[in-house]
Symmetry: C2
Subunit: 218 residues, 2 copies
Amino acid sequence: MNSQSEEDYLKALYHLEMEFDSVSTNSIADYLDMKPSSVTDMLKKLAEKKFINYQKYKGTSLTKKGKLIALSIIRKHRLWETFLVDKLGFGWDQVHIIAEQLEHIKSEELIKNLDNFLGNPKYDPHGDPIPNKDGEIEKMNQKLLVELKASQKGIITGVKKGTASLLNYLDKEKVKLGDSIKVIEILEFDGTYIVEINKRKLTFSEKICQNLLLETND
Amino acid sequence: MNSQSEEDYLKALYHLEMEFDSVSTNSIADYLDMKPSSVTDMLKKLAEKKFINYQKYKGTSLTKKGKLIALSIIRKHRLWETFLVDKLGFGWDQVHIIAEQLEHIKSEELIKNLDNFLGNPKYDPHGDPIPNKDGEIEKMNQKLLVELKASQKGIITGVKKGTASLLNYLDKEKVKLGDSIKVIEILEFDGTYIVEINKRKLTFSEKICQNLLLETND
DNA sequence: ATATTTTTTTAGACTAAACTAAAAATTACA
DNA sequence: TGTAATTTTTAGTTTAGTCTAAAAAAATAT
């Protein structure tokens, strides 16, 4: 059984590997708000357990084993976030801190049952994909709505950082994450998009289209 | 903020105080499966924080402050157990270990929302009362069905220790914890009870009546 | 190419929460 | 009541995970 701290490091490693192509001791320390010397200690331990590839001064990367654990934590985190928003009525911006705690609860059965209870969701309330029990994560082709041409389709998965208010707007328009969207027409003169969501026609300004994230299948 | 370990001790103290009138270092060690010397260390710490009254060699008791914390942990434990059984479909006998972990999650808001989501239950799946947010616990008049006379009423709150199979039986008969029960008639010659639950007449053997726990209001 | 700066690691210390072994206090009993 | 048994505490050790300060390695710049 891995400690909470080990799990936090593996998760951090995963996120950093996604975002950058090499992961340094300092970047981990920054991410986790710890001192580099503490990170070095933990990296040795994780290497010992074969969760990471690590050579002094040479940076680090997750092994297959380590990545699977990271993904299982992320799965739990995102399922719990979904629970908090869908069932307990939290706002999507309030759930992260609580899910950081819940993700460390140890019980396979619990997660299996929670997943079923939630209806086996594929995306969490922020639009991030939820890995399945084998750690497979839908590799999204994340795009902005503005990148689509007329007649193309996608699934709404989130909004860009710092555009919280857009989510509120979408909510008011009864548009939810996970909804399918299809581009009907793009107006030449101001870049306005006419789209169809849930069989309803909606009009989005160019600004909105630059901040709305979609998953596409091309 | 109190540590998980501190919370475990306070909860143990509460349960031991309920069951026995004086709580010794050894009894705590037994209950928590730890060495007495470890317990002494923690008692000093808890006394320092004014959670317990403690004098060397003289046993210990919870202060008001300590008892409130214990009750808040028990509240969380029982709400989570209710969630696991009512919503996730766990058996009442599978949930304790998971709830031991969940009870330490820190978020007032979470518990408030969970409580509402569950419909503000008053009893957990084992029939134990759930303290309210101020630590008030319904003092039940716990009785066995066999102690009731004809026409008396109660609420089914659980079964006696070691009679797991009875719960299964009740389940099959569509009798749930929290259901109201009324004694219609008691047969002289074998002590069989005819009772009414959910407007249905049911027949319980004397053995069943000796193991079925009720809350009554006398 | 060497000196300076930055990054990373090492060495040693700290804290919380457990432990073992031994000492001290209390309780039990003959 | 005095000795033996039991309970509790003390003293010192361990482990996990953090820290600071200093040393070592790598990267950068003149």
